[in-house]
Amino acid sequence: MNLWSYIIRRLLYTIPIILGVCLIIFAIFNLTGYDPAAQLLGKHATAKQVAEVRRELGLDKPLAEQYFDIVRTAFTFDFGRSWTTKQKISDMIREGAGPSLAVTLPSFVISTVMAILISIVVAFYRGKFIDRFLVVKFVGMMSIPSLAYILFFQWFFAYKLGWFEISGFERSFPEFLPYVILPIIIMVVLSIGPDVRYFRTVILDDIYQDYVRTARAKGLSERVVMLKHVLKNSMIPILTYVVIQIPFLILGALLIESFFSIPGLGGMTVKAVFDNDFPVIKAMTILSAVAFIMFQLITDVLYTVVDPRVRLK
């Protein structure tokens, strides 16, 4: 199949998925009997006020129309205004993306590179002491809840030792650096365990393939086999895994941003949860799903470009 026709077909396939996402969001917010108007106005609201807000939110329209309102926002990103800040949500998202990326992008790059290097070493020494030790160590690290890491690191490195800022943010470069270093370190610590675990499995899956046996039989050294043969093939699933994480970078790190008062999208989402800011939660749910679908599409296309076998299917 031609690559372009594949891309177009794949692009068309995202439409039913986006409609499906909107249907689920519609079911959660509009069909469960949840009344945001009553929530916003509190207990002492008059029936007239409730009706007013319901009309503003479009909740008095027929259900089909309410569904299409959600579908529309998924394409226009016109999410209305926040209840607490009264700002336009699309503006809030635009403002929050930068600070979020300042934290998530460096930690994503650092942790991915480190994890790939570590997993090559671990796979090279598979079954030996260093492999077992590191695997158990990472499983151990993954068994500690993320909140405990954040609390401890913030208290120890920022409060006790005073090496970093406890919280806050500056919008200019390089002034923001002291604020983001500790959050970046925490994010790397949090994501390196799952990364290594996955990459190691991927590399080990390849090590038992026939082509590796052939390469060894040719008399190639284990180093050449690992770096030139195995790694090249393993990079395909690793690439997929890495690309699919990108939408989450834009969404930011929920708890970390909230704890370090970084004005990114993650912190904004957590604040919206605290404040019961219904439009913001709904907007972030739609936005994150659409971003996820788009990057899934990119991953699939990349996959076919990198691995010609896939296109034949």
Binding site: V139, G140, S143, Y159, V273, I281, A289
Partner: protein, 286 residues
């Protein structure tokens, strides 16, 4: 002479028994379950809500693990927290497993339109990031412990659905299923009695995974004020400590984190051993 052949389960059990890590982690999980039953029935830990001393007593002879803001024993709260952790793990894992298995069986077995619709639904469902879905569900259902169980359960089944569906598709054309049809078995019987036991190892492995993810997710929800109310949980204890650390009160955080760490680590290691023992594809590999 007829000799009964040894089943996959028998081999798995033999493998697990020889695996030292598996035996140790299984025992630890067993102890946690026992503690959960004991606290649930009120045999131990029922007096957790009583003050045993001043506010924020440091660990020592008066209070083994120190006290919290209300002078309650942190040790007892941690112990009582076992009950909630096991309940969260068990109930949410059961909910998500039941949904994942039923939908996965239906999609894989019937194929065609049923499959298309279910796959579309699952793909849409899992396109919404887990944590956002969790927030949305918790928001509309309102706070509370029951909501927590439901929200964690209904949001975490797509992974199991995909695995079961794929495996059932491979199995449904096999001879033993055809033999069952020839003997007049209906759809439900073929699915539950014949195919399900053959894919059940996936269910068990995924169950142990869901169990520990749920326990970890509870901490995040506690931070957001959506956690367990009225009874101690490790999540709320860790969340409480955000105001305590600056005063040097580290014991609530440490006690709850260590208690959770040991349980989640054991579940992790046990899950790995279980996969090695049950997944025939990995057999013979290092």
């Amino acid at each position: 002479m007829e000799k009964k052949s040894k089943s996959l389960w028998y081999h798995a059990w033999e493998g697990l028994r020889r695996d030292k890590v598996a035996v140790i982690s299984m025992s630890i999980i067993g102890v946690y379950f026992l503690l959960a039953v004991l606290t649930f029935t009120g045999i131990i830990g029922s007096d957790w809500s009583q003050a045993i001393g001043d506010s924020y007593l440091a660990p020592g002879s008066k209070a083994f693990f120190g006290t919290d803001i209300f002078g309650r024993s942190v040790a007892l709260k941690t112990l009582k927290g076992v009950e909630m952790a096991i309940a969260i793990g068990l109930i949410t894992a059961i909910i998500s497993t039941v949904i994942g298995v039923i939908l996965g069986l239906a999609a894989g077995y019937f194929g065609g339109k049923t499959d298309e619709v279910l796959v579309w639904f699952t793909t849409s469902f899992s396109s919404i990031p887990y944590i956002m879905l969790l927030f949305a569900v918790m928001m509309v259902l309102g706070k509370g412990t029951q909501t927590l169980f439901i929200a964690l359960g209904v949001t975490s089944w797509p992974g199991l659905f995909r695995l079961i569906r794929g495996e059932v598709m491979r199995h449904k054309e096999r001879e033993y299923v055809q033999a069952a049809s020839a003997l007049g078995a209906g759809h439900v019987r073929k699915m539950l009695k014949h195919i399900l036991p053959n894919v059940f190892h996936i269910v068990i492995i995924q169950f142990s995974l869901r169990f520990q993810t749920a326990i970890k997710s509870e901490v995040i929800l506690s931070y957001l004020g959506m956690g367990v109310q009225g009874t101690p949980s490790w999540g709320t204890m860790i969340d409480d400590s955000k105001l305590e650390l600056a005063r040097g009160v580290y014991w609530q955080l440490s006690a709850a984190t260590v208690a959770m760490f040991v349980l989640v680590l054991s579940l992790n290691l046990f899950g790995d051993s279980l996969r090695d023992a049950l997944d025939p594809k990995l057999k013979g590999k290092a």
